[in-house]
């Protein structure tokens, strides 16, 4: 398998994630989509790491996974907090933070 295949898969995953962020109307789904995007990037890193014969790609992947875990924790906590306020998970409901 050449690196091209990995990158195509990574690009597809990233596009799916981005589409999910823009199109879905549920905050939890939004978070999941963000995770998909992150993992797409992880895939690209690992693929490049193998291609170049170094461990750098794998190391940075671990970092991204750590950050993703922290982000998920904070994000879900925020979602719970927001839901208690508005009884809704639609991001369009939270637009009062302006001007």
């Amino acid at each position: 398998m050449s690196i091209g295949h990995y990158l195509v898969l990574s690009g597809l995953l990233f596009s799916i994630g981005a589409a999910g962020v823009f199109l879905r109307r549920n905050l939890i789904t939004l978070l999941l989509s963000v995770e998909i995007m992150l993992n797409a990037v992880n895939l690209a890193f690992v693929a490049f790491g193998r291609q170049l014969g170094t461990v750098d790609g794998q190391i940075i992947t671990f970092f991204v996974m750590t950050v993703a875990a922290a982000e998920a924790a904070v994000g879900l906590a925020l979602v719970i907090g927001l839901f208690r306020h508005r009884e809704s998970l639609n991001p369009e409901a939270f637009t009062s933070l302006k001007w």
């Binding site: 939270f94 637009t95 001007w99």
Partner: protein
């Protein structure tokens, strides 16, 4: 702190410090005198102040023959005036009393800094410092409008001179790459004298303008008479004995520099003579006891500058020293009179005080005789030396002005003495009329000057008291000084040795030139001429000339005294008649040649208009404020539009981030 300390502590402390510094000064000068004349210098470098490239400047002090004379005058007369003030200012509140003495001590510190500085910049620090203290002390009674106005006037007028001083100092840096007096003098020595107007002349001229500001010469003398709003000891210390002589001292310090610029020297002499004459004529008609003395000071300072302009630096410094004695004595005497009369300063309301305050009377008369130039007293020797030098340099016109001025000096001083101390007692009656209907022109003129002591309740009584012990002590010492100070410089023609001149000579020459004829003892019995022989030669040639000139000036002095006695004692109707007959001249003199009015019209008002209409309403309000407000309006206008972008929708934000990322990627792709 002064608020909590009793007067005895604050005043005593301040005086004690001054007396100690006087003793230290005497010790230093003593050790200086023990050295051979040509190396009489004590240098002390405190630290390097400024280094920039190859230019460096030390905060250094130097004591040499010239500054030795000055520190003795400053600390000696300073301590006497401190002692005097402990009694004079006693009616002030504790706080004002402490404030007064702290200003006075600060002044002495800066004055010593000025005379001891070994380069122009250190001198300038002292120069500005004394200006500041002068401002603070003139405005000591700051609740009074006229006092604070006078303080501001003094400060602003001085600033004009200081500006020229700075320019001169900067030019010195550019020309000599140094500000040290000795370095400059040595460099100048190599140069030929500048016959036409050039850089050196420009430097000296600028420095001289600085001196006119500090030393109250034409055209910047206007602040000194107004400075009499301050307490009388201040007038004595700052505006007679020490600070106003700073300009003279500065020229003496740069003697070699000035000697190389004959053009400036002529200007200095001319301005000095003109000031002496002009101030003398004004002094003749003034009615305020302190103002008469103020104009007398301006006039005597003119003499000093005349001497400086003649290149007779020794004579100028000599007159500075003797003048410090008798003028301080006169001011303190006038202070005692004012004190006795509870704040009265108008000499038309005095008279007959002789038997009431004898100590003041006698010291005042001695000092007046000294300033008038009666032979045997201080003023005679120094003034005569100046006139002699002027005549010797072939300036008969300036000599004539000098003689005329000395006639005026004798006349107005004895007018003052007669009106104040002789004749009938006018103070009781006037004291009653005061405040009722006496709102004529003359009174309005003198009205703002009831200052120096706050009028106590019993001012209506004619209870007169002579100077209390501390004041009497200072007066008597100064009167003795007025008699004896001249004997340090008895000219050769009278069998003296002009010790002061010989003492000062090396300081003006910057270095030793040739071997001294004999090694000098303390009092300088031997004369270290430089070059040797010249002075001795001059002595022989001009002894008879000097003697005859002396005779002339003594005659003039006696004539002045006689004239004053005739006009203001014997025939009191004549002055009044003359005043009506020459009412134009009289009015001109009474209003001080309208110089204040002319300055007001030509300088103050235009500046006011320009600053108010042009700079304030025009530039400040329209352009500066406009720019600031405009910036505000611009930002708020733009943000009204821009804040619409912040709509709070997470999706929009995400979309813009995404769009941005894509744009950047696209840019790198197709670059």
């Amino acid at each position: 702190m002064g608020r909590r300390l009793p007067k005895a502590v604050t005043g005593g402390l301040a005086s004690a410090v001054m007396v100690i510094s006087f003793l230290l000064a005497v010790m230093q000068v003593w050790s200086l005198a023990a050295m051979p004349p040509e190396s009489r210098q004590i240098n002390q470098t405190l630290f390097t102040w400024i280094t920039a490239g190859d230019f460096s400047l030390d905060l250094a002090l130097r004591l040499d023959a010239l500054s030795a004379v000055m520190i003795l005058v400053v600390t000696g007369i300073g301590s006497l005036i401190h002692i005097y003030s402990t009694a004079y200012m006693h009616e002030e509140t504790d706080e004002a009393y402490a404030r007064f003495f702290s200003y006075l001590n600060l002044f002495c510190f800066f004055m010593l800094m000025l005379v001891l500085g070994s380069n122009v910049l250190v001198m300038f620090v002292g120069w500005e410092g004394v200006g500041l203290c002068s401002y603070l002390l003139i405005g000591f009674y700051y609740e009074k409008q006229s006092a604070s106005d006078a303080a501001k006037k003094a400060f602003v007028v001085n600033r004009i001179g200081d500006f020229a001083f700075i320019l001169g100092a900067l030019l010195l840096v550019v020309t000599f790459n140094s500000l040290d007096f000795t370095t400059i003098a040595l460099a100048v020595k190599e140069m030929p004298p500048e016959v036409t107007f050039g850089t050196l002349s420009l430097i000296t001229l600028l420095l001289f303008i600085g001196a006119t500001g500090k030393s109250a010469q034409i055209p910047l003398y206007v602040w000194l008479p107004d400075a009499m709003e301050g307490p009388t000891p201040v007038s004595a210390l700052i505006h007679a004995a020490t600070m106003v002589t700073a300009g003279v001292y500065m020229i003496g310090r740069n003697a070699l520099l000035f000697e190389h610029t004959p053009v400036t020297l002529m200007i200095v002499a001319g301005v000095g003579a003109a000031t002496a004459l002009m101030a003398g004529t004004i002094g003749l008609v003034q009615n305020d006891i302190k103002r008469v003395l103020a104009y007398s000071t301006v006039s005597q300072l003119g003499y000093m500058f005349l001497a400086m302009g003649m290149g007779a630096f020794g004579a100028g410094i000599f007159h500075l020293m003797t003048h410090a004695f008798f003028k301080a004595c006169l001011f303190l005497g006038s202070g005692a009179v004012i004190h006795a009369l509870h704040g009265e300063q108008d000499i038309r309301k005095m008279g007959g005080l002789k038997k009431h305050i004898p100590v003041t009377y006698w010291t005042f008369v001695i000092a007046s005789v000294a300033i008038a130039g009666v032979p045997g007293l201080a003023g005679f020797f120094s003034k005569d030396e100046i006139l002699f030098e002027t005549f010797l340099h072939g300036h008969q016109i300036l000599w004539g002005i000098g003689v005329l001025t000395s006639l005026l000096t004798a006349t107005y001083m004895f007018r003052l003495v007669h009106l104040t101390f002789h004749g009938e007692e006018r103070f009781g009656a006037v004291e009653h009329a005061h405040g009722h209907d006496d709102h004529g022109h003359a009174h309005a003129h003198a009205a703002p000057q009831h200052s120096s002591t706050p009028a106590p309740q019993h001012s209506h009584g004619v209870h007169l008291h002579d100077a209390p012990a501390p004041m009497a002590f200072a007066l008597i010492v100064l009167a003795i000084g007025s008699v004896l100070a001249g004997y340090v410089g008895v000219p050769h023609a009278l069998g003296g040795h002009n010790n002061l001149g010989a003492w000062l000579e090396p300081a003006f020459q910057a270095t030793n030139c040739g071997a001294p004829v004999t090694t000098g003892e303390l009092a300088g019995i031997a004369i270290a001429e430089c070059p040797p022989g010249e002075a001795a030669e001059a002595t022989e040639d001009h002894a008879s000339l000097e003697l005859s000139l002396m005779a002339v000036s003594s005659l003039v002095a006696f004539a002045g005294i006689g004239l004053a006695s005739f006009l203001w004692l014997k025939r009191k109707d004549i002055p009044a008649q003359m005043a009506t007959q020459f009412s134009g001249v009289h009015k001109l003199l009474l209003n001080k040649y309208y110089v204040d009015e002319v300055y007001d019209a030509t300088i103050v008002q235009p500046i006011k208009v320009v600053s108010q209409e042009g700079l304030w309403r025009g530039f400040d309000v329209k352009i500066v404020d406009g720019a600031v407000n405009g910036a505000g309006y611009f930002v708020s206008g733009v943000s009204i539009v821009l804040r619409l972008l912040q709509n709070g929708s997470v999706k929009t934000y995400a979309a813009s981030i995404f769009a941005g990322a894509v744009t950047i990627l696209a840019y790198y792709f197709w670059r």
